[in-house]
Symmetry: C4
Subunit: 374 residues, 4 copies
Amino acid sequence: MQVSLVCTDHNRGGVSRSTEERLNHRQNANSPNTGTRNKFRAVAMVARSLGQLTVQSQPTSSDQSIRTGMKYRNLGKSGLRMAEQLVCLAYENGINLFDTAEVYAAGKERLHDGKTATAIIQLWNVFFTHRAETERGLSRKHIIEGLKASLERLQLEYVDVVFANRPDPNTPMEETVRAMTHVINQGMAMYWGTSRWSPMEIMEAYSVARQFNQIPPICEQAEYHMFQREKVEVQLPELFHKIGVGAMTWSPLACGIISGKYDSGVPPYSRASLKGYQWLKDKILSEEGRRQQAKLKELQAIAERLGCTLPQLAIAWCLRNEGVSSVLLGASNTDQLMENIAAIQVLPKLSSSITHEVDSILGNKPYSKKDYRS
Amino acid sequence: MQVSLVCTDHNRGGVSRSTEERLNHRQNANSPNTGTRNKFRAVAMVARSLGQLTVQSQPTSSDQSIRTGMKYRNLGKSGLRMAEQLVCLAYENGINLFDTAEVYAAGKERLHDGKTATAIIQLWNVFFTHRAETERGLSRKHIIEGLKASLERLQLEYVDVVFANRPDPNTPMEETVRAMTHVINQGMAMYWGTSRWSPMEIMEAYSVARQFNQIPPICEQAEYHMFQREKVEVQLPELFHKIGVGAMTWSPLACGIISGKYDSGVPPYSRASLKGYQWLKDKILSEEGRRQQAKLKELQAIAERLGCTLPQLAIAWCLRNEGVSSVLLGASNTDQLMENIAAIQVLPKLSSSITHEVDSILGNKPYSKKDYRS
Amino acid sequence: MQVSLVCTDHNRGGVSRSTEERLNHRQNANSPNTGTRNKFRAVAMVARSLGQLTVQSQPTSSDQSIRTGMKYRNLGKSGLRMAEQLVCLAYENGINLFDTAEVYAAGKERLHDGKTATAIIQLWNVFFTHRAETERGLSRKHIIEGLKASLERLQLEYVDVVFANRPDPNTPMEETVRAMTHVINQGMAMYWGTSRWSPMEIMEAYSVARQFNQIPPICEQAEYHMFQREKVEVQLPELFHKIGVGAMTWSPLACGIISGKYDSGVPPYSRASLKGYQWLKDKILSEEGRRQQAKLKELQAIAERLGCTLPQLAIAWCLRNEGVSSVLLGASNTDQLMENIAAIQVLPKLSSSITHEVDSILGNKPYSKKDYRS
Amino acid sequence: MQVSLVCTDHNRGGVSRSTEERLNHRQNANSPNTGTRNKFRAVAMVARSLGQLTVQSQPTSSDQSIRTGMKYRNLGKSGLRMAEQLVCLAYENGINLFDTAEVYAAGKERLHDGKTATAIIQLWNVFFTHRAETERGLSRKHIIEGLKASLERLQLEYVDVVFANRPDPNTPMEETVRAMTHVINQGMAMYWGTSRWSPMEIMEAYSVARQFNQIPPICEQAEYHMFQREKVEVQLPELFHKIGVGAMTWSPLACGIISGKYDSGVPPYSRASLKGYQWLKDKILSEEGRRQQAKLKELQAIAERLGCTLPQLAIAWCLRNEGVSSVLLGASNTDQLMENIAAIQVLPKLSSSITHEVDSILGNKPYSKKDYRS
């Protein structure tokens, strides 16, 4: 279970100065320009270890994530372990480096999606534009140049995982796989993953990596929430079982659909009312959208019984899936952040009977022949 | 469709200062010495995106080629996309860095051939001499040293494509392929290609790359114009179909033969009248040359019907070939540059009946068993 | 035969200043920050060559280990030769850089285990914590980051051997082997080895290295002393014979059990009386522990006949095994260091009849079908 | 045909200052510390191109070796071409960097053997000691450290060829081949070769390189003179034919035996009279040595007929072998250098009848089944 949250709040919560300094100490090692880097790395590291963060005063401890005694779960079959209870605290200067290329928001200064401020820097974050992400493609040239520009902007020596966002039909898979292996071999990244790829495309990448003795991808980022379950609950576990590719999920609140905000239409100032979100508005107001809102009312009742909000239930519901390495989510202010973090406390309340009840309401539990959970 | 033009004009046309600054901003990232680099990179980038360049005032946009909304075509099956309407504006300081080793010109200061000032730096550009290009060969030593010296001179961190000019019978293919893979792995180049290689030689390079798990070449630079069609129209499409090696063509005006200048012999001050161009003069004055001039007169009539010049028709005719990734051409002054650029507007007028008419006049359309155009 | 000793004494013994300066001269070559590096490298180099160190005044000689005319033994089948008589002199500043993550000691300032101050830097030395070593695992991320941090701390450009401490069931073997090959290819290490791995795990690493054309491990660090013989005397020679993996051993005194200190229980201020060493105390006071102490009394008599102490006999007994590349041991003060060094002089006295006598007392000589000693 | 000579003369002969400056200009490109580097590289470059060096005033020419219009011969089947008429002019500061580890001389300041001051830096040059060369071995550690130290000392970014001097039975061939490939991949060397290896050992290196997709060796350095012909005239041509490994030869005067100095015993102040050269003295004074001196008297007569000295005849005789890429020889003063250089003029006089006559006198022409000369 793993949560990634982000806030833009300028108070760094309970992380004491000395903690940050120790983190900086660790991160400065190979970085000539450490100002921004420290900030970001601190975000990443804290993100991996917070949970019931109780900063201990061990001056020699160089790794926050170990000190907090978190339990770990592997990202895919790789050895990249991440804290099971992930929380991302926002740091003043660092935050605006992680704006996303996606068109989630009206303003430039606001951070809108948790995907951008987690430990994982996505390749297309770099370009900082409102163009379609697939525009740049996955050529060797764009993968290398994009990542270099990203590292330069973020003042990082390397990222942990570089993601190939959406498959690029115009680039041979061999070129993409060789380029990903190249940036890893050059020390610019530790691992690479895919985002929004089909299982067949991921298998092709894996197969090409094997054919040319290159490094295979480590995980897939996939949309996962109460109304979209098939890929994460059936397809990715099968992939994990076969080739060790793990799952990282995003959009646990279905772009805000599972927020309770839209139970009686689309109110002004909500995301779906923003220019450029007509598609979201249409989706909500469609017949399917109205059916979803009806189900959400029933789920709201469960949430109340559990003493939590509907979004908290939805996030905890994602976290209950043990095949998921990390749940990415966004927050645009401190309150939202704190509400989302609290979903971790809801998790233990998700008994099998509650889960069964949720499944009955949703009526969309996919059928899987095998159970790949260890 | 792709055009590469070059001019030595010191006015940088319609590219505003702020555009250049943004380009510089992008290019400076990893370059310690950015003076010349910016200039050159700007050339390359503008070259890829100009077209109906309408500089938009998006300060966060980091990639000119995306902002202009160009359509892209892949270079071979690789993912290196280049703007379909390529124009190369000359920058004052940068230009004299791209002189070619070829013996096209009498003076040293002038830039004579478009091949030298495009986004693609040719390996033999580096040596800046009047010796035969094959003199240096394609040994590991010369490929690496030549490219390093080139990068140093041009103040570039890497080139996009490094070309192996003419096959070198004295160097084992394995050595050349390993050296090309080496410079790519070292980050000195993104891709490598061949120039003036036979399809069999390219196949050998590809096969050796596969044998030793090295990186295969991405494209071949070949001469292509109305009087030389076989390699580009028949042989290279087959290669592209088999191993994904694309075609980049040069000399669309056949060393100036298709200029209209030679329709009544070789006038003074023309290229064919220069010392060292006796071979060109001989070619023009030969029986075959006279037959070509007769055909050009007929083509001149078509050009007039289309409202363009003969060179524009010839360039547009090259561009009509969808199997060609890039058409390289030269220009020694602004007027010539502008005339050549205008060939892009002629392209839509090349209906199939016009193309058929041109083929009839030329009488040299090669027969291809298969049509590899997608 | 090879001994590694360490002391924390601030006098650097017989190594003259000029020796150190020459060593520094050699080591500074590629190191921007040479202060600490010199110190450590000097330790490593002297460690490899001391023996009857007679510092010769050849100003041009750049390699201490050659000058002393030591005989060498290969580490596994690799070409990394190390002095047969290895002694580690402690240098003031360098020593406290090599503290180990293991929980051998009560104080932080003291150096407790020879493993940490030899020429071989162990990966887990870096983390400098009291957490379980396996906590960090052998992911690509941790291997690279850990080694980088270590090199930064020690101001070294590279280590000779990087060890993977304890197998990590959570990380695919391919990832560990690729990461080890990566740090070697990046110049951060010369070789890699394992520590506390089973022969089957080492074989798997070797097999994976062969499968993906990566670099196989060079040696295994294993516990070896009079009361633990099977792995070093039977299993590792077989591995060496098959795949060239050598043996380096640690704990020749069985965590102090073979010191004579515990023959009548656990005295105060001994290691076994320290907090956190309850397991050692339990072991000593167990029935098996008492049987061992009884045998040690018999061995004490042999030691006296040979004119040495029991620990010297125990160390010499480890050294007698020609399949062992290096015997690692610790010393917490100069006297202990000097006593341990003197074990080298005992070695020639270990005749086959003495060895036979020791085997009879121990009663645990393992049966090996083959004799792999060359 | 290729000659490498060296002198310690402090006058740099006919190379004008402007030549040197241009050479420096080329060499400084990637070198932070250029003082010494320039000197050495200049040696290397001039060495490759001298011949009838006529310094041309082409300020843009960046490669001396091309400017002089030398004819080239490949080193093995590799593409590393070297000037057919090689001469090494000594530069003041550079010279004492190339002292050899071999025990040819009594004094340290003098340069004794041409092998050390050619364009080819031998690995064991680095160590600058009088120990046996095989002492250090061919482990990954020693190859990398030795080459790094050498590059540091010589202020070079890379050497053209790194030689593995004498096979090392203690190091697995895989380790040596991987280490050689590593230094090439790291940009520290362009090629690697062997020295004094048997054809079978070279074949093993080649085979291991093929097995693990590493880079195979490019050439073998072998002793070759009138009294030692088998390896260079029979074995190496076969190797070249099979795997493209070329031959570079040393000791054309048989350690001075073919100098005319020893025709009546060993005079004082000759090399054979030096301390440490007892073996040479013994060899000369042996029965075989006397027979050789008798033959040299006959050859002296031929030399006189050709109007040259005996050493010149001997060098020209080595050069006549077209299977030899380079003839390495030494000179301890300017006169000797000039005499040796003049051997190039003798070469055209070596008609087949003269060669036949020499063969008759020597009586040791090896029998080769095949003729591998192209």
